[in-house]
């Protein structure tokens, strides 16, 4: 077993480090990145990751648009974003180097596989001359390693491997080198191979050998001037695991189903970047989860509406274009007042847009994208790990208020991963559903709770409560079809008021850093990590009058929102769209004229751009 060395003359201790692995989309960069992440998290570091891959599954080898990357930020301090500036870039080919060098500041380190810097690959990457030889990298510390040949050499005695498998193992050589550089034991990854390739012992051997070869190579040859340690971070005590946003979302629903004593139903149609929620939930039939991979987005939500009518905790998962297709059915769910959660993992729009990139541009669609006046609850998760809490919350609100809830996440937090302090269902907030089990003489489907206006929920199979619901307007009392003008207006108002009253069942917003003063930074959804990091930095720099309010509840807004906005001289709303949440705030608070900081590049906010934007508005 390899023991990570702890002390030595060339060892420097760092607070945090950002590593990016880049290569062809078939080079296994996502796996390499997640292995480094998991190992670091288990060592005790705080971690945040950002996978960035093309929408082509296997783009032509060596091409610029086929580059797949995985960035991870590990720290002994709190880490909320995958980081802006890369400390170590591992480039498996010229295209990866070309498309990612911008993120590495001069003086920082590059590890490159020299074997891949052939004329053919240089041409594909549109390099006029070899950057390893033309001096263009002289401001970086370049570690040149013939990784492909060394991998072949390491595997020359392993039997049963074809050429392709051998070449594809070189990512483990890179991982071994990075493990050595940051004093990480390779044992966790070796364990992982043992489990993953249980039935293919030759692959366990191959991956282990190459990983160790990379590790020892770094140690033996003095190519790498020094190595670094990143001490464990101070985190709240508890049991943790590294979790991806989409998995956390799926698990939040599992927890809600168990807590409410209901079975979960998912009706869904595959769409990037939401499909992983389907992939996860379909595994869990043992918890009574039923899933239907439907023929289209509409059948996904329609089947969920049917399941909800029959008494399941029903959800549907999608991304922007799918939400557009689900609009009419969502209106039906709102009209018949059935519980239903719609998860929209937002991606770059409009139309097909940028399917694998992140954006927050479905907010207005979530709010208003239906015919007629059809308000629903809208909430948003803000980190990979709190996707768990907000999926749970979406289920709780839909069951308690008998109206659909849209849960917004985005590609950035859905595919990103972070440590999650595991929550046992026994510690979660209780969930009260509105099921009626017994018939009373006077029962009708639109009997409402006085406080919340939520109707009661009688499901097929319950004797004596047979009733009809439907998309046509209903009489407020009997629940029968009604075209009476005053009734329609009254029902429209009830449906709106029902959403307003959710305010009594959600927490008030508590700003971070300054509680009043000069500038309030406002964000919502998946930008929490970037915005929190930026305002924290300002606060550490002595800007004591900058507060930060991050919204997870959007419709309705927390009760104290108006009051909070008044406590700061300026408000700046930061979004990965052209100002949709700012619009919502302006609609709600007359006279509010917030500043805006917007970015629509399919990428998260960078730290420096935010600091610069905020400082402009600070004296």
């Amino acid at each position: 077993m390899i023991q990570a060395k702890i002390e030595g003359p060339d060892i420097r201790s760092l607070e945090a480090v950002v590593v990016r692995f880049v290569g062809d989309s078939g080079d296994g960069m996502q796996l390499t990145g997640t292995q480094f992440t998991d190992t670091s998290a288990m060592f005790g570091n705080d971690v945040a990751t950002f996978p960035n891959y093309p929408s082509e599954i296997r783009a032509p080898q060596g091409s610029l648009y086929g580059v797949s990357g995985y960035q991870v930020h590990i720290g002994s301090i709190e880490v909320s974003t995958p980081g802006d500036n890369v400390d170590l870039l591992v480039a498996m080919n010229p295209a990866g180097l070309k498309t990612n060098l911008y993120a590495v500041k001069p003086g920082h380190t590059l590890i490159v596989d020299t074997d891949s810097f052939t004329q053919k690959n240089l041409d594909k990457a549109e390099y006029k001359s070899n950057p390893l030889h033309d001096g263009s990298l002289e401001n970086y510390r370049v570690i040149e390693v013939a990784m492909t040949s060394l991998t072949r050499e390491a595997l020359k005695d392993v039997e049963g491997l074809d050429n392709k498998t051998i070449t594809r193992s070189k990512n483990m050589f890179a991982l071994g080198m990075v493990y050595w550089m940051y004093h990480r034991s390779p044992e966790h990854s070796i364990d992982f191979f043992r489990k993953k390739f249980k039935k293919k012992p030759e692959l366990i051997e191959a991956n282990t050998k190459v990983l160790q070869a990379g590790y020892y190579y770094s140690e033996t040859l003095e190519l790498i001037p020094n190595s670094f340690t990143i001490a464990p971070a101070k985190m709240a005590s508890g049991t943790y695991r590294v979790i991806m946003g989409n998995t956390a979302t799926a698990w939040g629903f599992l927890a809600a189903a168990e807590k409410s004593g209901m079975d979960l139903f998912l009706g869904s149609y595959p769409i990037t970047p939401a499909s992983d929620i389907l992939h996860e939930l379909v595994k869990h039939k043992h918890f009574g989860v039923s899933t239907l991979q439907a023929e289209d987005e509409i059948a996904g939500i329609a089947s969920a509406i049917g399941a909800s009518f029959a008494g399941k905790l029903a959800i549907t998962t999608t991304s922007g274009p799918g939400l557009a297709l689900k609009g009419e059915a969502l209106g039906l769910a709102m009209m018949v007042e059935l519980p239903l959660v719609i998860v929209d993992v937002q991606r770059g729009g409009p139309s097909t847009g940028l399917p694998t990139k992140t954006e927050q541009s479905d907010l207005l669609q979530a709010m208003y994208g239906r015919n007629g006046e059809s308000p629903v609850i809208v909430i948003a998760a803000s980190t990979p790990s709190n996707c768990f809490a907000y999926a749970y919350e979406a289920a709780r609100l839909t069951l308690e208020h008998m109206t659909p809830v849209i849960l917004l996440t985005d590609g950035y937090i859905a595919n990103g991963s972070a440590p999650w302090k595991i929550q046992s269902v026994s510690e979660m907030k209780p969930i009260k559903n509105r099921l009626v089990k017994e018939a009373s003489e006077s029962w009708h489907p639109y009997d409402r709770d006085e406080k919340t206006l939520a109707r009661s929920w009688a499901v097929p199979g319950t004797p004596g409560l047979e009733h009809r619901v439907g998309g046509l307007e209903k009489d407020a009392n009997s629940g029968n079809v009604s075209y009476v003008p005053e009734n329609h207006e009254a029902m429209t108002e009830v449906r709106a008021e029902k959403i307003r009253r959710v305010q009594d069942n959600i927490p008030e917003i508590v700003p971070e850093f300054a509680q009043e003063g000069e500038l309030l930074v406002v964000g919502w959804g998946g930008t929490y990590g970037s915005l929190h990091t930026a305002v924290k930095q300002l606060s550490q720099e002595g800007y004591s009058k900058v507060g930060y309010a991050h919204f997870n509840y959007i419709n309705p807004l927390p009760k104290n929102t108006g009051e909070l906005l008044k406590k700061f001289r300026k408000v700046i709303v930061c979004e990965l769209n052209s100002g949709q949440f700012a619009k919502i705030l302006k609609i709600n608070f007359t006279g509010l004229a917030p500043l805006q900081y917007n970015k629509i590049q399919g990428l998260p906010f960078g730290n420096e751009e935010l600091i610069e934007a905020f400082k402009k508005h600070l004296a």
Binding site: D38, A41, M42, G44, P232, M235, S237, G238, T239, Y240, R241, V242, W251, A255, E258, D263, F265, G267, H284, K285, H286, F287, G288, S290, L292, A294, E295, I298, A299, A302, S303, I305, G306, A307, F309, A310, G311, K312, E328, G331, L332, I422, S424, V425, S426, V459, P460, G461, T462, P463, G464, E466, H467, R468, V469, G470, G471, L472, N480, V481
Partner: protein, 336 residues
């Protein structure tokens, strides 16, 4: 716990809502046939669910004193699929029309049949859009003059049965809208069938497409123009039951008993249970006589049966009994 099935009469299934179809509409016939058939089906009222789309016929659930949902245009099969998968014990009925299921809902229509979920679907086919006041539908005939085809329809129609069997329908029946007894019987058989049952009702629209099926449904001619098939019985028709179908090469042919030495033994015997859909498709496509009755009824495993079995298997071998078992499984670490 199995509860005893209660005794009902047709009145138990009528809701207090006034029925608002046009006087003389065949929809009344289906409604009454349904209310009469339900007490014969051996199901409890609280276990019956009607799901509809949009169109004249889709008001149907409001008139049934059972659970029901009036859905959105074309999506009833998808909504109903969710209901049935959520609770396989329910008797779930889909009420749809030719526009609802063959145009806007075509996708759901074919996929529900492919999956074979145990739903019963009644397709009210009047070859016209009634509720939107008279446009041609996907079953309107070429040349048919409607509000949206004043010079005659140029789009060739679907044959509902052909499309359905092409989409792997295991149960397909066709019934004329003016034959209440046959209809009641077919509805009972559809409920008995384990799998998706499709019942196409050839339904007259008195306002926008009056007489669209009269040519072979009129009482005076129907015995001569319709062949009502029954499983295991020879395919005979005509007032004197002296006409029959034989297979000549790859075509069906009408023969007359007693002519050219033809006897009843030469006539095809209907086999609704035959897996191979070839002959069923030929019966569906036949222009004379028009074939009614249960054309196809082939037993097969349903989607929910597969799902339930799979769930039991997964449950039996899973190490996860509660979510805690999952959440704390695998690679976790402790911070002190």
């Amino acid at each position: 716990m199995e509860t005893a099935i209660k005794k009902y009469t047709y009145k138990d299934f009528a809701s207090d809502q006034e029925v608002r179809w046009c006087p003389g509409c065949d929809d009344y016939v289906v409604l009454r046939a349904m209310q009469k058939a339900l007490p014969e089906m051996g199901v409890n009222k609280e276990d019956v669910v009607f799901i509809s789309g949009i169109g004249c016929s889709s008001r149907f659930p409001y008139y049934m004193d059972t659970y029901g949902m009036h859905g959105i245009h074309g999506r009833a099969p998808a909504i109903a699929s969710g209901v049935k998968l959520a609770n396989p014990k329910l008797s779930v009925w889909v009420i749809t029309g030719d526009g609802d299921s063959l145009a806007i809902g075509g996708n759901h229509f074919i996929h529900v049949l492919r999956r074979n979920i145990d739903l019963n679907m009644i397709l009210f086919n009047n070859r016209i859009y009634g509720l939107t006041k008279g446009q041609f539908s996907p079953t309107s005939l070429v040349g048919q003059k409607t509000k949206s085809s004043p010079y005659g329809n140029t789009q060739p129609p679907f044959l509902a049965g052909e499309l359905a069997i092409g989409a792997q329908a295991r149960f397909y029946a066709r019934v004329a809208g003016n034959t209440p007894q046959e209809m009641t019987q077919v509805l009972i058989e559809a409920e008995r069938f384990n799998g998706t049952s499709l019942i196409e009702v050839l339904q007259n629209c008195v306002i926008f497409n009056d007489g669209c099926y009269t040519e072979f449904t009129d009482k005076a001619v129907r015995e001569d123009k319709q062949l009502h098939v029954e499983h295991g019985k020879p395919m005979l028709f005509g007032k004197d039951r002296d006409k029959g179908l034989v297979l000549k090469g790859l075509k069906l042919e009408v023969v007359t008993l007693g002519e050219k030495g033809i006897t009843e033994k030469d006539v095809l015997v209907h086999d609704a249970h035959e897996q191979d859909p070839t002959l069923h498709q030929m019966l569906v496509r036949l222009q004379f006589p028009i074939v009614t009755g249960i054309i196809r009824s082939v037993a097969d495993v349903t989607l929910e049966e597969r799902e339930v079995a799979l769930t039991e298997q997964v449950k039996a071998r899973s190490e996860f009994k509660r979510t805690d078992d999952l959440f704390f499984s695998g690679e976790t670490y402790t911070v002190k």
